[in-house]
């Protein structure tokens, strides 16, 4: 029998934030609220579009994990790098790829951020320094240390954020990359989104330790966990780490304790979860928590409702544009396999 580690309950995840917010914080969190709302509704629309047959293939939604995406991104500056796995529609948007390009990419359109060659799992933007969207579990992690190697090589002071899942922590190349990040002081902030499952497998069945972040410490990488359901906690904790990283130039691994509301992909009904688990985490819903905090400091409910309506309208327009865009041209399928080599046509 496999040895099972204990799983963290929602109660153990919950962090405390002060009731008070400064005026600047209120302004900031209003923006974050709107963004998380946009992410939630975006993914819901994507799901509907999928069931309507607007696209096919694998589609992994980030619903429930919005606080990690919004909070981490808010702690970064524009020139920082982000790389992720396949559950990354909203991370791509957070990094600045227009949402319409992300949706159009899923729909196989010419206006998609990768011109229809990447798809749901493979969003990229060189301009926005979003280095993918990677479909091989753990495969993006060695790339992240390469990006950080470049930062050090050129003596720059950006950092790389590398998202990975809890189940990716058992991939050999992830551990290789952690070790190299440690020996060469590569400024990568590894964010392990511990949503408790790798597909249908409970993390406690595949990972003997209860706290994933402790594994990084074994490699000499500083690490901690954080409440990934509370965006204020995420932002504050990440900002402090990023600040420290810009000075000490060392890697850091942050285990974001979060929860995946939906199945692994849209075709997974997630029947394997113990009863009540989802509801337990929904008590910590990042949108509701922030909403309550904003209301508590005197933000008007109407103002937040206005966001809800605005996001709805915005998304309707985005989906219309993505629908209306031209399909990616078949004539371009041979483009960009290789940078042209003399005497060899792209085809």
């Amino acid at each position: 029998m496999t040895k099972k580690s204990a799983k963290l309950s929602a109660k153990e995840v919950k962090s405390k934030q002060t009731a008070k917010m400064t005026a600047t914080e209120v302004k900031r969190y209003l923006k974050v609220y709107r963004q998380m709302l946009f992410f939630r509704r975006f993914e819901e629309r994507v799901h509907i579009a999928y069931t309507q047959g607007k696209f096919s293939g694998f589609c992994h939604l980030h619903i429930g994990q919005e606080a990690v995406c919004a909070g981490v991104q808010a702690a970064l500056r524009d020139s920082d790098y982000v790389i992720s796995a396949y559950r990354s529609h909203t991370q791509a948007i957070a990094k600045g790829i227009p949402a319409v390009q992300v949706m159009a990419e899923m729909f196989g359109k010419a206006t998609g951020c990768c011109r229809g060659k990447g798809g749901s799992m493979h969003m990229f933007s060189a301009e926005r320094r979003f280095f993918g969207g990677h479909g091989i579990v753990g495969g993006q992690v060695p790339l992240a240390i390469g990006m950080a190697f470049k930062i050090n090589y050129r003596q720059e002071d950006d950092i790389v954020v590398c998202y990975l899942g809890d189940a990716a922590i058992n991939q050999g190349q992830v551990l290789e990359a952690l070790n190299m990040a440690a020996i060469w002081d590569l400024p990568v902030l590894f964010i392990v989104e511990n949503n408790r499952y790798g597909m249908g497998t409970d993390i406690k069945r595949t990972t003997a330790i209860k706290h994933i972040y402790q594994r990084a410490q074994g490699f000499g990488v500083a690490a901690a966990d954080m409440d990934g359901m509370n965006v204020r906690t995420v932002l504050k904790q990440t900002a402090a780490i990023v600040k420290r990283m810009r000075q000490d130039k060392k890697p850091y691994l942050l285990e974001a304790l979060t929860y995946r509301y939906r199945g692994h992909s849209v075709s997974d009904p997630a029947n394997y979860r113990p009863e009540g688990e989802l509801q337990e985490f929904q008590q910590l819903d990042p949108l509701i928590q922030l909403r309550d905090d904003l209301l508590a400091v005197g933000v008007e409910a109407e103002q937040l409702q206005a966001d809800v309506d605005a996001v709805k309208t915005e998304l309707r327009v985005i989906e219309k544009q993505a629908d209306a865009a031209e399909l990616a041209p078949v004539a371009a399928i041979y483009e960009d396999v290789l940078v042209a080599i003399d005497g060899h046509e792209e085809h």
């Binding site: 060189a126 993918g132 495969g139 990006m147 050129r154």
Partner: protein
């Protein structure tokens, strides 16, 4: 093959080192990273002295993590550097096939052309001697199969230097194949700077009776076989140099002249480069062929250890001679 008059005789090892050093002096974004490349001067001493010249920032000893540091090279290349990653041998580079196939070969395409991966992954490939099956493999059939990669094989000091310089300047991921057994081979290399274009083969020796294609160690084998066959047979010997993308035009032109083709390769024949060349030539030169395309290759085996068993597995001069005689129907006509 014409080499300019001002030339010096050097080894392949030296040619590769010269290529890396010249390019690294020219472009500060190039660095060399791999196991034992710095303080130990390279497992096969290809990078000897480079740490001293370029320092630890640009000549970097890596832990034994082939997948990890191949991926590091890909990420660094995507971010704007031009890494040279040394695989101690390509047998160990197989650990990095996920990174090479799933990432190096894919990110340009999947990103719709937004990223390029100017990366050279180089190291010895093929059979050395009495190392057993895990240390005696040929990776060109695997990787030439993958869209998005360039695959280059080294045969002489001249092509080693010219091709490596071109590979370093190319904006694609280049799989660069050397051989432990050939690092000591010497030959003339021009003193003046030169590059050999990727994607282009070279006629090593002109001839009229049959075309023989070979690269790496097999080129030497073919040249020895040609000596055995003597003046009776006029072989046109072609070194394709780049296996992906292959210089099919050069092969077609040669076969249209000689009407016969033999491919000699060190890997087992099944689904290997020779099979691809044979298919392409029959598609394009069917009416020109006076005999079926012939192949000499390794037996379909994990390479055995013992000297005599290893020799029995690999292509030999005798097999090449016999294959040429058969291709020309020399024994049946007598």
């Amino acid at each position: 093959m014409t080499v300019p008059t001002q030339a010096t005789k050097i080894s392949i090892r030296e040619a590769l080192r010269q290529a890396m050093c010249e390019e690294m002096r020219r472009d500060a974004d190039i660095f060399l990273l791999g196991e034992e490349v710095a303080e130990y001067d390279g497992a096969y001493k290809v990078s000897k002295g480079m740490l001293k010249e370029f320092g630890a920032r640009r000549v970097v000893d890596a832990p034994i993590s082939e997948a990890g540091f191949a991926g590091l090279g890909i990420g660094a290349a995507m971010a704007g550097l031009r890494p040279i990653i040394e695989m101690m041998t390509w047998n160990f580079g197989i650990q990095a096939f996920d990174q090479i196939i799933n990432h190096a070969a894919k990110v340009r395409y999947m990103s719709g052309g937004q990223f390029k991966v100017p990366l050279v992954l180089r190291g010895p490939n093929g059979v050395a001697h009495m190392l057993g099956a895990t240390h005696s493999q040929y990776i060109e059939p695997f990787l030439a199969h993958v869209p998005g990669l360039v695959v280059v094989a080294v045969s002489t000091p001249y092509d080693a230097k010219g091709l490596l310089k071109a590979a370093i300047r190319d904006d694609n991921p280049v799989i660069f194949l050397e051989s432990e057994f050939m690092y000591g081979d010497t030959g003339e290399v021009p003193d003046a700077e030169y590059l050999l274009p990727l994607g282009k083969g070279m006629v090593v020796r002109e001839g009229t009776d049959a075309t023989v294609v070979a690269w790496g160690k097999m080129l030497k084998l073919v040249l020895r076989a040609a000596d055995v066959l003597g003046d009776d047979v006029s072989l046109e010997i072609i070194n394709p140099m780049t296996l992906q993308p292959l210089d099919t035009q050069l092969l077609v032109a040669s076969v249209n002249k000689t009407h016969r083709l033999l491919v000699v390769e060190e890997a087992p024949a099944f689904a290997a480069i020779g099979a691809e060349i044979a298919a392409q030539i029959q598609e394009r030169c069917f009416d020109e062929l006076d005999a079926p395309v012939a192949r000499v290759s390794a037996k379909h085996l994990p390479v055995p250890y013992a000297d005599h068993l290893e020799r029995a597995t690999l292509p030999s001069v005798e097999e090449v001679v016999a294959a040429v005689r058969q291709l020309l129907y020399m024994d049946t006509q007598a």
